[in-house]
């Protein structure tokens, strides 16, 4: 068992699950989506991106790309949240945008995890 593999696997899957946790719930109801969860999703996503750096294989490159997509989507969601809050225009449309952005990030995270599992299954060791 390789500790490094455990840690990276942990963060890849954690990024996906916590993202799902934020995304799950009625898209128009702010009270169902915790800001702390979004924060955690962003931090974990950033960490898993850094962990993916340095693998120069074809698969490593694709993994990194999916992770970067998730980061950008989450950063966009956070930015929208911040801006709308300070401009006091927290309406349904803006909030739906935040949730759907995080939904996009969730898709990217799922892709990444599928690829990761695929690679693990392919590996002989």
């Amino acid at each position: 068992m390789n500790l490094q593999k455990v840690i990276s696997g942990f963060f890849f899957i954690f990024a996906m699950t916590i993202n799902f946790g934020f995304f799950y719930g009625d898209i128009a109801k702010p009270e169902l989506h915790s800001v702390y969860e979004l924060f955690a999703a962003l931090v974990i996503s950033l960490i898993s991106t850094v962990l993916k750096i340095g693998d120069k294989t074809q698969l490593g490159a694709v993994l990194l790309a999916t992770s970067l997509v998730a980061d950008i989507q989450l950063i966009a969601a956070v930015t929208v949240w911040t801006v709308t809050e300070y401009l006091a225009i927290v309406d349904v449309e803006a909030f739906a945008a935040i949730i759907s952005l995080s939904g996009g990030a969730l898709l990217a995270n799922i892709t990444s995890v599928i690829l990761y599992i695929g690679e693990t299954l392919k590996s002989k060791r």
């Binding site: 702390y36 924060f39 950033l46 960490i47 850094v50 750096i53 340095g54 120069k56």
Partner: protein, 560 residues
Amino acid sequence: MTNNALWIILQKLRVPLLVIIVTYSIAILGMVLIPGMDDNGNVYHLTFFDAFYFVSYMASTIGFGESPYAFTYAQKLWVSFCIYLTVVGWFYAIGALVTAMTNKTLHFEIMKNRFKKQISQLQGKFVIVLGYSYVNVEIIQKLLENGLEVVLIDEDENKINNFLLEDFSKYVPVMVGNGLITETLKDAGIMRDNCYAVISLFKEEDKNLRASILTKFLNEKVHVVAKGTIEDIANSLLDTDITKVINPFEVFAKRLDIALVSPHILLLENWIYGNSKLNDKTLFLPKGKYIICGYGRLGKLIQTRLEKHNIPYVFIDAKRVAKREMVQNEQFFKANPDNKDLLCEVGIKESIALIAGTSHDIDNLSIMITAKKLNPDIYLIARENTMKEMSLFQAANVDWLFMIERIIINKTSMFLANPLKEHFLRLALKQNEIWGKMLINRLRLIGNNPEIMSLCINNKDAYAIETELQQGIDVNSDVLLRSLENWKKQHKAIPLLLIRGEKTMLLPHQVSLKLNDELLFATDRDSQNEIELIASNIYELHYAMYGIEKQIGIFNKLYT
């Protein structure tokens, strides 16, 4: 992944980035969770943005102050903990970034990428030079003058730095790397179509063999110019079929041979190399007893040439041994040649010439001084190994100085930059003295130092002739020699060589030109212009061929 440099930086920054992310998120989360108090005494919580903003300027030690309201003690407690956490993380990250930037591997990768890019941007034919040395710099200079591009590889970084200080007319891409490895040669563009040649003139001749074998397998169309003086290596070099072997000793021995029987041919050679002018005196080498110091590769080559002309000789060498019969016939002495008694014993008084041909320049100088004292009339021939002691040799009053490095430079650069000249020279050296004298006398009519020009019958260089040939009209090579002022006269030019595919013609005369013929002329500046005009201008060509102006066919065209 082609861009290795970026990957090296990112990989080095993995841990610092993780540290920053983790410390920031701990600090931010704490700031959000800990309740604060606004101006009116109401409890409030910082938003994530407030916290991110505050932590960002705290960690980078910018420190704008407490915002949006003055902090409570609970908050201050957390902030003082965070200061140490984030500031240390931040500095660590910056330190790691700086270390990564100054990383040697990184520098190498950046240099390699730049080098590869420069190679891919080379438009014309280019030559890969292996190793930085005095000889190679001279060769590079000459190749650049002749419109070739050059790429240099050397293993030693200091040498590359020295090379960058040299002044060249064009930028020469350089790389630190072992040129005897496939990977480096590939980086240097050996597989590219416009790669013309590889120059490998290492003293360690097995390296030259290695370079030419690698080249043979990587790209057969590339020429290799390699130094090869050891017989086995020279033969293996020739076996690769793509290698031009440079053996300065062989070159000198051949010159000695020629100088004994046909000094005019030797003068011709020197003129083509630009070593001398045509009005230099031509003298036969004196015939008589020769004393040769040094019985190595050079000595043995000289021996065969002297035997060919039945010239008596004595070899002196301190280290090497010769065949028993040579010792018995007193043709070889194993001793230090720089010795008065010994020189007298081998008969310097009645000898006619002495060749100081050891591989040590100072020994050679010393031998010459001793010899001159013992026999002031002796003809001195000296070998100079490196160009560093040039002034010393010039001061020593040598009758004939041959510089090993100069020979290598001349041979290599002419082979690559002026293949026509080289071809002519090869044929000319096989001719006899009468032929040489005839040609020298004809050349002297042009001037003391005629220029050499080449002309290829193609669309670019000879548009007019090409058009005529396309129409099936026969063009005689002598048309090029006619004067444009009066077509019955000739300007000063001598056609030296014509190459048509595999066939070659020395001093072509009244030859019908064909497409893609290559011609070499000795000319002065005016007649060079005339040749170029006749070859490329249809009106001038018409005049040179028929002696009348070409009628402009505007009316003819209207009615035909």
